[in-house]
Amino acid sequence: MKLKKKTALLASFTMGALLLATTALADIASKSGYEELKDAIKLTAERGSEAFDSFTLDFSMAMKDNGKTLMSGNETKKFDRKTGATESLSSNVNLNGYTNSSQTYSDTKTMIRVSESDPTYYVTEFSKEREIESFNNPFKEEEAADVEKIIDAIVGSLKDHVVITEKDDGSKEINGSLTEVQIPALVNAVASFQLKQEFNGNHNQSNMPKLVKDVFVKQVTGTAKVNKDGVLESILGIAVLSGKDEQGAIHEISVDALITVTDINSTTVTKPDLTGKKVVRHLERDYSGSEISNPEKYLGKFKNDILIEKDGKFVKIGERIIDITHIDTIKVTGQYHEEFKPGFEEYATNTSELSFSAEFIKDQRGNANFEYTTKSGVKGQGNIYFDDYQGKINFNGMNTSYEGGLMFDSTFSPDLD
């Protein structure tokens, strides 16, 4: 009897352990729809940044209020990874009912832009061949793994709502649907609060209904299609927000978004034909380098006015003049002096005439610190900055006294007269 009980207990324990172990293994091995979706997104991002020579990405969205379209947008982007050319066509209807559409083309040497409201083709030609940042794989970033873990944790039990169906041709359809009972109350509250704030923000003139009461996320659904290579072909997402406006009328605002990837390896990006069109061309300077381009353009005089405030007016009492005598990408030398109009000579200080020589700080485009020597031999320190955007020089170092209503200005414009 004693032995029998022991055997029964042992058998029962072993059975429990076996049951646990086998199902646990099956559970770990089984790939949920959520995992499959993650894999498909990763694979698509990887292929898009490395393997596909060309593809077309289409993004469209629409926002509807009880079925009436409030706004919509469509953007088609064609990528050619081999030549670095991209083309994008977009058309939008905004919340005020205005439509606009535009077309952009860009490759390593040019960028062309045209819009519906202005039929002029704006062509930008680049002096240097640009390095086009092709589509970057976000999963290759350092933080990607951690971010994925955080998202997994947030998604939590909602993972189980993702269902996958396999088709005969090897492609898959991934579906997810959440209605109000299934959305955790806290998530729903936070999301609806966010959306409510966003919608009621500053769209006073628009035809967007103002939701003030009983706002909640009614439904969220998503469908993704994965082709037989495991690459995402389309993602469709629909979210429905319900709420009441001030009059108590119920509004159901739905947002649909659809992203499709088509014409993989068969997309051709064509440069718009400019013959017979109104074209405005300009040469784009390269601002991205760590050194100023064509530094010799800064040779010569730069000046600004010395002003004082007197009897409620600005009075010009002279000029500050910088004379750049030598400049290259490494070094700059020159003189600075102030010229006062007759009768105002007493405003001159000991730094009213000085010479300087500076070396550009590495990787700080056009920025240099210098040591100057005044006419009387006193040394001091200052800073000079060549501003390529404005074509001006910023010069600091001379005494800045505001005595006698003197104004101080460190910006110098080229003296071209």
Partner: protein, 250 residues
Amino acid sequence: MVVFQAALLNELEKLYKKKKVLVGILLSLAVIVIGQLVIVGVRSGFGLRGTGSVEFPMLVLSVVVNTILPLFTALVTIDSFSGEFTQNSMRITLTRPVSRFKVYTAKIMAIVLFILGALLLLLVFSLLAGFIFNTNSATLDSLGRTVFSYLVSLFPMTVLALAIALLANILRSGIAVFFVSILTFLGLTVLSVLFSQYSGLFLTTHLDWYNLFLVNSFPLLKILRQFLIMLGYGIMFFTAGFYIFDKKEF
């Protein structure tokens, strides 16, 4: 069977006489009241709906199933075993002509009934509060899912009770059992966040398994796997717990 019934009645009577059960029930009701107040506050303050009539019971369940319910399951289980060990009243129970197996089963059964009672009480009151204070959003489907969610939560809670019963038989002191349980619970919760791909194996994630019954597509395979895992745990905990209980000398 008559003997078992008598033992069960005996255990239920003991449970019923304890203040802990009353406190547990009061706290559960407090969760409903506080939850409803928060929802009303959110609604008038932020203009959000908060929850509808059926979502409110789900909100209550999601809070209770991870906090008060496991806590009181632990307290009642510890009381039923460690309490009697230390008070030496276990001797009295065992002098009756009832086998130890029946005593152990009756104790577990009484705890399960306590959990079931708590769940039903929560269900009824949160549904009532849901319907009285919230805009009606009920459909037959969502109502059915809500009721079902409450009922299936009994299962993981029972497994939890079995695990604590095992612990109570290993460790003598009730306080030790309580703290070990709490620490394990917290540990498992953290682990299931860190290793989310293995989270299906942890007892703490099973507490939320009612969510599976809410999924539109009804993931039968996943539910079955979770059920079998819990069953495996349950059998192991019960057998091991009973083995130690059987060997114990009082």
